[in-house]
Amino acid sequence: MQLRIKGNIAVSESGFVFDPSTGDSYSINPIGVEIIQLMKQTLSEKAIVDAIVERYQTEPQTVEKDLYDFCNLLVKHQLADRI
């Protein structure tokens, strides 16, 4: 699944997210912030998984499963669109 983070969504380095269109705010853990930054570079799903596996003690399968779930949540909260 490939996502585009909506243009008006601000993500701070500490993981605070604000959606000006709804006024909703969210908190994202550091790895989530990193993934959003990778998404903003419009990397493919595989490239994101590779980048995470490169830096963290984990395997591609785990990241893939988790990324899938994380993407669904971003879409559900209307912070991103599927492309």
Binding site: S25, S27, P30, R55, Q57, L73, K76
Partner: protein, 457 residues
Amino acid sequence: MATQTIEKLRYERPVITSLNAGVTNKFGTKSLHAPLSHIDGVSVKEIIQKYGSPVFILSERKIRQTYREAYRAFTSRYPKVQFAWSYKTNYINAVCNVFHQEGCWAEVVSIFEYKKAIGNGVQGKNIIFNGPEKTDEDLLLAIQNDSLIHIDHLDELYQIIELTTKIKKRPRVAIRVNMDTGVYPMWDRFGFNYETGQAWDAINKIILTDKMDLVGLHCHIGTFMLSANAYAVAAIKLADLALGIKEKHKQNIEYIDLGGGFASKNTLKGSFLPGSDTIPTFDDYADAICSTLLNAGFTKENLPMLILESGRALIDEAGFLAGSVIANKRLSDGRRAIVMDMGVNLLFTSFWYDHRISPVEESGNHTENAVIYGPLCMNIDIVRESVTLPPLKKGDHAVIHTVGAYNMTQWMQFIAMRPNVVLIDTEGKTHVIRNRETVDDLNKMEVMPEHLKKFKL
């Protein structure tokens, strides 16, 4: 290769949590999500590796500590106190013997429990036999052993009168009394009612037939009682009966048994604050009971012994259930679901309590709300409807707290088998005190009729 792995950061599942007002969690304080890596200094992970997942863990140190706290609360206020361990709360023999070593008698509600107590080496005279079902055979054994028989209904009273024609001993009995203590629902299905005079009818019958010794008066007013004052009311009513017996029949009642029912440090479903912040302490209960008895009007010589049959409050906190995450799911409404290998088959009390759950492994600061499912392929298998936990992944471990009472007796052999129960002794050594069940154990009880032995598919 190895060094490269070490340089990598610890992985955690990406999480996003809504911060919108109004969705703050009850029990949402950080300390509640702190990992529980060790119990009494023993690594939970190592226990799981050695004894399997899931596994019940009991802390002998905590059992003794809690018991001593309760004992001190009562003995510092009243001269004659005796606890009797409520077998049905947890009748694993090793657990019972910890209580017996501390000086507890046994309180049983069936012949099965009665025989367990005898098997553990408890003398008959130190066994209290409660409950509505006692056969002739059960009663004869109890009479022979000088046990304290707590009569539940008139049919039982007449049954004992009848049995005294067959045996030369005088049974030692008490009656169970039920009453209005201002707490609802009122438990009036057990024993003889105080307000309507049933209790007096039974007392008069016992004393006038003169076939048995009425040595005590018993009540058990309910369970998880959040009002210490209800015990003061119960104590007044039993004291009133005892003083009335003294006046009318010139007989002393040796003991007043106020049963169990003290709340444990669990959180009842639907309550907003954690149980540990709201339940009365042993001192609160002891104060209500002891001051009432001391002021009831007994002379110093006739002051009855106070018996307590506290169950859950003495063992709940000493019990833990440790297990593993099987899977993570996202439900269609967006909620996270965590499937664990410990479900309602092992955790009967999850129907009453919002059990606290802690991760075993360290995690980041982020938490997420989740529903916790057990492993059963059944819709009812929900351990927590909603709990805030750090992101757990498949294979991670978690510990469910305060499960020492009623789970190791009311667990079901349903779909899965019962796991090992491990006791951590006061020196930090672990002992299996109940072996996990095997398919062979269960099949051993079944019998296959000859004509069903063969089939072709």
